[in-house]
């Protein structure tokens, strides 16, 4: 091992990435929890945490650029750092989505929910797990794991469609619930979007490991 500085710095960035990842996971869980429990305080916490996540992105981004500038990583190392630099943007966006969810929570704070929230927390749970596991796969550089996680996106899509249809039905039945349903629709859409970002992370993990974007498990 001839370039300890390179590996120290790379590891450092890695750790920051994980830190940011756990911040984002927390944001997802908190946002849904606050929605479920009408926990406005928690929702505000999520909104506040977004700026922290943004700052985190800026810091890691800066570190990536400085790392490339100083250490001139190549091949695998370079792919990894480039992926990280994009991944943090995705994480930041996930944070944005959580912020949006939290904002919706605050909008809904005075309304009684049309029904107990079951499916949305379920999908949220799935999504947050997906984010966690995809980051895990990246850190472990486990392409096969990433491919498996990538597949769960289909499940989420299914659930999303089911929720969409259910909410549409509810709206058509009771127009007083339109605002709430539309809001829930948006929240679900945000969650679906977060799942997309997680699939993105999986794809990038595979790319980093293997140098291309082939997501077929058989390969």
């Amino acid at each position: 091992m001839q370039r300890p500085q390179l590996y120290h710095e790379l590891e450092n960035i890695h750790n920051e990435l994980l830190k940011m990842g756990s911040m984002v996971e927390e944001a997802i869980l908190h946002s849904i929890q606050s929605l479920k429990n009408k926990d406005i305080e928690l929702a505000e916490k999520v909104i506040n945490s977004d700026s922290k996540i943004n700052k985190m992105e800026a810091i890691i981004d800066d570190k990536c650029i400085k790392f490339i500038a100083r250490q001139h990583p190549l091949a695998g190392d370079l792919r990894k750092i480039m992926v990280i630099s994009k991944m943090i943007t995705d994480l930041e966006r996930i944070g944005d989505h959580c912020e949006q969810i939290a904002k919706y929570t605050i909008k809904l704070k005075d309304q009684k929910y049309i029904k107990e929230l079951i499916d949305i927390p379920k999908i949220a749970d799935l999504v947050s797990k997906m984010v966690t596991r995809s980051l895990d796969a990246f850190v472990k550089m486990d392409a096969d794991l990433a491919r498996t996680i990538w597949k769960t996106d289909d499940e989420i899509d299914h659930m999303y469609k089911a929720i969409y249809n259910e909410l549409l039905e509810i709206m058509e039945e009771d127009k007083t619930k339109i605002f709430q349903c539309v809001t829930f629709l948006f929240i679900t859409a945000h969650l679906e979007r977060i799942a997309d970002y997680a699939t993105n992370i999986c794809e990038k993990t595979v790319y980093t490991c293997e140098g291309d974007y082939n997501m077929d498990l058989e390969d």
């Binding site: 001839q2 370039r3 390179l6 990583p73 190549l74 091949a75 695998g76 792919r79």
Partner: protein, 251 residues
């Protein structure tokens, strides 16, 4: 894309030491091929088999084929002098002869029988322009070449080599004795030259291989471990050892 030189199954021994083992490589026309690898990996030795400069060393033994335009240059009775006119060489240290700038350039043409002053003058001007040195030295062609800066000397050496109209130019770490600015000038010159010539360059400096070459071959212990487009070698090499070398995990 035409293959200019085909190397097949090349082995080279210094006495009992095998310096090159089963080297196979294609060198493409009008492309820059870079040879990289750690010290002692055989890259310079390999370069010197291409114009038979290794013939100068007593105890060398070579087998295998080096096909230049489909003719084996190690064939018996192959005309080494003609080979070396066809394949120019630029060395690690700028090595202009201790003569004037003019005399340096016309050395090759004179050796090969060009005597007319007018023709020689023409050659001097053309080649110096080719290496972007003309404007810098046109007023002092009769001054000693040693008075030039290192980078200028190296460009003069390239011009001297162009003066015999080679088809291929071999470069053995042409910038390792130069400062960064002069290095970049030579590198940008390469980009021009490759339009007319086929270039093979040995370099110690991996970054340089990255910057200038179209193809890169990675040598290790006298073997070619990987040979591919430079893009691929630098961003996504196939061989683990190549990646280790490239990323500095080596040794």
């Amino acid at each position: 894309m035409d293959t200019k030189i085909k190397i097949r199954n090349l082995n080279l021994y210094y006495g009992n030491f095998q310096a090159l083992s089963d080297v196979e490589m294609d060198i493409y026309d009008n492309k820059i091929t870079a040879l990289i690898g750690p010290s002692g990996c055989g890259k310079s030795t390999f370069l010197r088999t291409l114009n038979r400069m290794n013939d100068l060393i007593g105890s060398v033994k070579i087998d295998g084929n080096v096909l230049l335009d489909n003719q084996n240059i190690y064939e018996k009775d192959y005309d080494v002098i003609r080979l070396r006119r066809k394949i120019g060489m630029v060395f690690q240290k700028p090595n202009p002869f201790p003569k004037s700038i003019y005399e340096n350039i016309v050395y090759g043409p004179r050796i090969h029988g060009t005597k007319e002053k007018q023709k020689l003058d023409e050659i001097v001007e053309t080649t110096l322009k080719e290496v972007a040195l003309w404007d810098e030295v046109k007023d002092r062609l009769k001054k000693p070449a040693m008075g030039l800066s290192g980078g200028q000397q190296q460009r003069l050496c390239i011009a001297r080599c162009l003066a015999v109209h080679p088809e291929i130019i071999l470069m053995d770490e042409p910038t390792s004795a130069l400062d960064p600015v002069a290095t970049l000038r030579i590198e940008s010159l390469l980009e021009e030259l490759v339009k007319k010539y086929t270039i093979v360059i040995v370099t110690h400096n991996m970054q340089q291989a990255g910057r200038v070459s179209d193809y890169t071959s990675f040598f290790l212990n006298g073997k070619v471990l990987e040979s591919d487009e430079t893009d691929i070698i630098f961003s996504n090499p196939n061989n683990k050892k190549t990646e280790d070398y490239i990323t500095g995990r080596f040794g």
